[in-house]
């Protein structure tokens, strides 16, 4: 079992080891077969931001939502990189493109029903997508608004009850989307919650967030925000129509907003009902030592792949970071190993050297700022600072979330950059306001603890979203570094026009190297997730679409 936690430097090797490991564990005696029944407990140190399908845009909420509602397509219920594959869910296939991928057609399966027994029709899916345009229901994924014809003027079904003409429902089974540009991976976008059906007569507007109608194996019995969510079986869900979800436990109870240390300790102890519990989030650094040294605990540790890259964002508009030499110096000075230790050491992932993580199509091995063990190259950093005329150092402000982890990462940056004379002041921002603050160009300081997870396992929802200078807005900005390069912008347009997704991925990989030379961000960690589960949990694996968290749709309990 030793290769389970050993991380190969060549990522592919590491992945193979993990897959082999998961395979052997499923057959091994330590975890029995998952059976139907029982109550699965989920201990979460985070909150469910939104359950409303129009607003659900956070991976943990999406993982939970997969138990409650179905979407046109979804991600495959498989461990490792295979989980990135898109498979049909409510639809019979992953969508049929026509008109050069500007028109997409889906057909619904027979026998799919809401929790009240009403059949799900294409009009319910259309209504669900239309809701994502309503200004009252913000925060959802932007793709419907970006891509559908007329999406720039449509204000959702409350203000425009006539509906959006570019979504056609010729009959109850068929839905057609007309797009304003070719989108090769629209079938992947259709796995996002906003493509879930919503019955119009049961839409309670903003209140729908607390009680979305079920189309999946479970319905909400009780929801106390930031405290507890209790799910019970939806008897109208027919497993024969669903090849993805297993729906094994009779009940699923989520305890929300627990202290991360409390979650770890309860799962380490595994007493009483906690034996049938899984953690929502990876173990903290403090628990790593106990898990590694205890074979019984190590056996209960699930290692999940992720396509999340963590990086330090450098604001390219603020002096002296507007000088590329200074940014390169920071890239050399950063102690990536210390930042990884803060997150739990090697178990938390691999030291990142490129923007695109190894699990993502288009990844090409590269390291423009090499150093021994990722601890930084102080001499090279100092030389670059001297070239920039800043050998005496300078002061910057770093935006970091005010969580314990955020502050610790901030201090690691502070200590690393201090080695080359850069004085870092940490500006701690409450976690809920963090992203909206650094997304405000007037409020973002010199640097930020940052990261990005693509919406599906392809680079198209990564590089263009955060490095295209034409998308910079004063608020709600994703290009936190305010990186501007006309050459890069031009290349984005060329790649977007490519019809072949594989060619596009390779092109993105080459472009990533070009962007990396300008250092708008310094990648430091490619995440992995190490999750503890209780001794009675079976069939648990980390899912790449949910940043390595346990796939809730398939996990169960053993006898």
């Amino acid at each position: 079992m030793s290769q389970c936690t050993r991380v190969g430097l060549v990522a592919v090797v590491g992945m193979l080891a993990l897959t082999a490991c998961n395979g052997s564990r499923a057959q091994g005696g330590s975890t029995g077969e998952a059976v139907r029944g029982g109550t699965l407990h989920v201990l979460a140190s985070t909150d469910l931001e939104h359950l409303d399908p129009a607003r659900n845009y956070v991976t943990s909420s999406q993982n939970v939502a997969r138990l409650i509602y179905r979407t046109l397509t979804t991600v495959a219920p498989k461990p490792g990189q295979a989980g990135g594959e898109i498979v049909p869910d409510l639809a019979t296939d992953t969508g049929r493109p026509s008109d050069g991928a500007k028109t997409w057609t889906f057909t619904l399966k027979d026998g799919v029903k809401f929790e009240d027994g009403q059949p799900i029709t294409s009009k319910d899916v259309k209504y669900g997508v239309e809701r994502s345009f309503a200004p009252d229901l913000p925060e959802g994924a932007p793709y419907a608004r970006m891509w559908l014809v007329g999406g720039d003027r449509y204000k959702g079904p409350y203000e425009n009850p006539g509906g959006l003409a570019s979504i056609e429902t010729p009959d109850d089974k068929t839905i057609v989307f007309r797009l304003n540009r070719p989108v090769a991976d629209f079938g992947s976008a259709a796995s996002l919650p906003l493509f879930a059906p919503v019955p119009k007569e049961q839409d309670t507007g903003v209140g729908y967030d607390g009680r979305p109608v079920s189309s999946g194996p479970y319905k909400i019995e009780k929801f106390e925000p930031k405290k507890r969510l209790e799910l019970v079986r939806n008897t109208h869900w027919d497993p024969k129509t669903d090849e993805v979800r297993k729906g094994l436990p009779d009940r699923v109870v989520l305890e929300l907003n627990l202290d991360p240390a409390v979650v770890d300790q309860r799962l380490v102890a595994g007493q009483g009902a906690d034996a049938e519990a899984i953690a929502m989030e990876p173990i903290g650094a403090a628990t790593v030592g106990r898990v590694v040294n205890d074979p019984a605990l190590k056996d209960r540790l699930i290692t999940g792949e992720s396509i999340n890259t963590r990086f330090l964002t450098l604001n390219t508009r603020r002096a002296p970071l507007d000088n590329v030499k200074v940014r390169q110096a920071i890239a050399f000075a950063l102690d990536k190993d210390a930042l990884r230790t803060v997150r739990g050491g090697p178990i938390a992932g691999d030291i990142a050297t490129t923007l695109l993580p190894p699990g993502l199509a288009g990844h090409a091995a590269d390291d423009q700022f090499p150093s021994a063990d990722g601890k930084g190259d102080v001499a090279k950093a100092k030389a670059l600072l001297a070239e920039a005329g800043l050998a005496q150092g300078f002061a910057v402000t770093l935006d970091a979330p005010s969580t314990a982890g955020g502050k610790a990462q901030g201090e690691a940056v502070q200590a690393a950059l201090g080695r080359v004379g850069i004085t870092v002041t940490i500006n701690a921002i409450s976690p809920s306001a963090f992203y909206s603050t650094i997304a405000n160009t007037a409020q973002m300081h010199d640097m930020a603890i940052d990261g990005w997870t693509p919406d599906w396992a392809g680079p198209s929802t990564y590089l263009p979203l955060i490095f295209d200078s034409r998308l910079i807005t004063s608020e709600g900005n994703n290009n936190h570094s305010q990186y501007h390069s006309d050459a890069v912008n031009k290349r984005f347009d060329e790649i977007a026009a490519l019809a072949d997704p594989a060619a596009a991925a390779t092109a993105y990989g080459e472009l990533a190297k070009q962007i990396a030379r300008d250092v708008p961000v310094v990648p430091f960690l490619w995440d992995k997730a190490a999750i503890l589960v209780g001794p009675k949990v079976a069939g648990a694996y980390g899912h790449v679409a949910y940043v390595g968290r346990v796939d809730l749709a398939t996990v169960g309990l053993r006898k």
Partner: protein, 301 residues
């Protein structure tokens, strides 16, 4: 049970009376040592409290300190912080500066504000008294901890240390004010003030020359008694994440960051926790002793 008559020779100076109690003497020594440690921090430790030592922790174990009892070694006499490897002794010593300075300054603020307002209220009475009285009622019925946290997190750009002093002092002064007001009322009606007034002394002179000196004792008692409370509250606020900002060390912050580690590395919370406990205890014992010595109406002797 009979109550023994009190024997307290008035001619013995207060400090000597204080030192006659062994517990008070020990507490005083502890407090003096703590103050010396805080003042001479740079002479006591050569390691910087913010310097990372990645060799002292084991990344494969999530950054657990290498070695027993939180990584205690010749280089790090009290061990190191998990993950970062920062020296615990250095953080304790520099953290003492923060804790003591904030507590003393907050006490100063509450004593000055409380004395001035309490004096004015008690001496002049009437409308002034009513207003100050209401204000004190108000502040004392505030859910102060919640409010302090909200207030401090509302003003992130300001100087945290100064803010902590002001907020702690701002919520603490009514406890001084109440006592001063009561005493001032008694004194203002007392014979010698009446006599002074009869002799035509102006009000301000009365306040400064007659009433204020008589308040020294009770104010000193409240001040000594309130220091441990401020130390604990400052640590509590740091514990809840609204104390001094990193990387400035503070005991409360150290304990807060030790919460996830208490099972894996108990030394990391026991050491700052022990220092905090001993400090608060020493100030409490000293406060009790000062009250017993100075306050003639005190029953605990």
């Amino acid at each position: 049970m009979t109550v023994l008559p009190i024997t307290r020779p008035a001619d013995v100076p207060p400090l000597r009376r204080l030192l006659r109690q062994p517990s008070a003497a020990v507490a005083l020594v502890v407090v003096v040592l703590l103050v010396l440690m805080a003042v001479f921090a740079p002479l006591l430790v050569w390691t910087s409290p913010t310097e990372f030592d990645s060799a002292a922790v084991d990344p494969a174990l999530g950054g657990l300190p290498r070695g027993a009892f939180g990584g205690i070694s010749a280089e790090h006499p009290l061990g190191v912080e998990p993950v970062s490897g920062r020296d615990v002794l250095a953080r304790i010593v520099y953290g003492a500066r923060v804790s003591l300075l904030i507590a003393v300054l907050a006490t100063l603020v509450s004593v000055v504000v409380g004395t001035v307002l309490g004096l004015v209220a008690g001496f002049f009475g009437g409308v002034v008294d009513a207003v100050v009285g209401r204000l004190m009622d108000l502040l004392m019925s505030f859910p102060s901890l919640i409010f302090m946290i909200a207030l401090i997190s509302a003003l992130p750009e300001a100087n945290r240390e100064a803010l902590l002093v002001l907020v702690l002092g701002g919520f603490g002064w009514p406890y001084v004010g109440r006592i001063v007001r009561g005493q001032a009322m008694v004194l203002a009606r007392g014979e010698f003030v009446a006599a002074a007034r009869a002799l035509g002394a102006p009000r301000r002179a009365l306040l400064l020359r007659e009433v204020l000196p008589n308040l020294t004792t009770p104010v000193l008692v409240v001040a000594t008694m309130s220091i441990p409370g401020y130390i604990a509250t400052e640590a509590g606020l740091s514990f809840l994440g609204v104390g001094v900002r990193p990387p400035t060390p503070s005991w409360g912050q150290m304990i807060a960051s030790a919460v996830p580690w208490y099972a894996a590395d108990p030394a990391y919370f026991l050491i700052p926790g022990g220092f905090l406990f001993v400090t608060v205890l020493a100030f409490n014992v000293l406060g009790d002793a000062v009250r017993d010595v100075l306050d003639p109406r005190s029953v605990r002797r």
